[in-house]
């Protein structure tokens, strides 16, 4: 019997008034893999992630995460997944430790203090564990947000531009931690990004989005070969600059 995909979208559509943000996309993400959603601004990446979490309701179609219909029954899956985005903050006046305690309890994490200590060691949070989250640098905040996203040891991790606004060194460090998490936990990661280096390094498969549609799908190497280019960035530019009607290959 084939394993249930970690994520499965069928003819997923999201319209905001006259604008179609996501246009009948279908895809499945195999458990234990890292898949990138690659596309420019307004391609529909964040809207797709919002629907996968059940935070945004589809206009049509269906999305299932960990086998659960997220539009109708998301509470059956939410405890087994998590999310990180630089556009969502944590309470600024609470210390890092307090924030992690609150989220740990919301997720029903057992042995919470030990879990916080482990995450603090893994993500190098110890020096600022008792400082207010609002007083941290962008890099430190990203590490804290990542700790929050990992607090429940999720089977499915959704990341929306996780290294946006980070310097190259910190971004590289964060990618290393994500790789380690996926390897050790066997988790599934869906990563929305327009950072090509990040996608090439982390993702075994890339879904290329343009104007709400999946215009291509393959591993970074396959895409580079298919477009006859030298890097994923060149592929991205090809896709971004091609007329919309060319669609999928």
């Amino acid at each position: 019997m084939p394993a249930t995909p970690a994520i499965e979208a069928r003819q997923l559509v999201k319209r905001f008034g006259a604008t179609t943000a996501v246009d009948a996309i279908s895809f499945a993400v195999e458990a234990g893999t890292v898949v990138g959603l690659l596309g420019g601004n307004g391609a529909g990446k964040t809207t797709t992630i919002g629907m996968i979490m059940g935070l945004t309701l589809p206009s049509a179609g269906e999305v299932r995460a960990l086998g659960v219909d997220m539009a109708r029954d998301r509470y059956r899956a939410l405890g087994r997944m998590n999310f990180e985005s630089p556009y969502v903050d944590m309470p600024h006046r609470l210390t890092v430790r307090q924030n992690l305690r609150v989220f740990g309890r919301l997720y029903g994490v057992s042995g919470l203090e030990k879990r916080i200590e482990t995450l603090a060691a893994d993500l190098a949070l110890e020096p600022f564990l008792d400082r207010p989250a609002g007083s941290l640098s962008a890099g430190q905040k990203t590490r804290v947000a990542l700790a929050k996203a990992l607090i429940n040891d999720p089977e499915l991790l959704l990341l929306d531009e996780p290294t946006a606004s980070l310097d190259p060194d910190t971004a590289d460090w964060v990618r290393g931690r994500l790789e380690a998490f996926r390897r050790d936990r066997g988790a599934t990661i869906l990563l929305a990004s327009h950072n090509m280096a990040e996608v090439e390094r982390l993702c075994g498969r890339v879904l290329m989005l343009k104007q709400g549609r999946i215009v291509d799908d393959g591993s970074p190497d396959e895409l580079i070969a298919r477009y006859g280019r030298n890097s994923l960035e060149e592929v991205f530019l090809d896709v971004a600059r091609a007329p919309a009607e060319e669609g999928a290959r």
Partner: protein
Amino acid sequence: MTLLSAEMAFSPKRVGALVMRYLYLMRSSWPRLAELVYWPAVQMLTWGFLQTYIRAQAGASGVGGAMAVAGGTLIGALLLWDTLFRCQLGFSVSFMEEMWSRNIANLLISPLRPIEFVAALMTMSLIRMAIGLVPVTLLAFWFFGFNLWGLGLALVGFFLNLVLTSWAIGLAVSGLVLRNGLGAEGLVWSVLFFIMPFACVYYPVAALPPWLQTIAWCLPPTYVFEGLRAAVVDRQLRADLMLEALAINAGLMALGAAAFLALVDSARKAGALLSMGE
């Protein structure tokens, strides 16, 4: 059945986690704590001195009647109005903390159910209201000899009804902010003042034109303030008023909860929950 049970499952631990988050916040800032007491105290002192002045004037001139009634109930009315207002603020401001810190998406993608979120906000409304008002009721006794606690059983009825009204309004306002973003923030502070003239806080319902009296009797706080005047001036416990207010409050709570859930659903349809802001 499974669908319903997952949606409706209630965990006191998750409620406790969210209450802990607000208590951490409160503890982190003494100005926030001081502010809870500051405005109720300033208002009580102002209205208390006015009440003392009116009573003295009414006594000296032998006017009595309406002046004496007004003079006898100002502090009590103010304290009960503040119970309503502070309780609604306690609910709504706790909710606004999530909006201001851009944390709302983190909560909504966690296993926290809407009913648990609301239970945490209700708990915080009681905690914030108690911190703000208990010291002020003691001040009122010390300065003006007005003992709110001396109202006994009547106070339980007043309190219960005002808290229920504040929660119903808090639910609807929080839903509106969730749906419309921080642009709707002003409602948190202003919405109760819209009903204030019709709730007859400082004057009897009879002071309103007849057509407005009908509107006034649709508002549970009107029953509470009429009940207060009956208790303070006539030494009467008007259980009938409290029961009628309770019945209206039951309807208001159902409407508030339905509005909140409908607005959350509408925000999900509009994709507003991942892009909270102005």
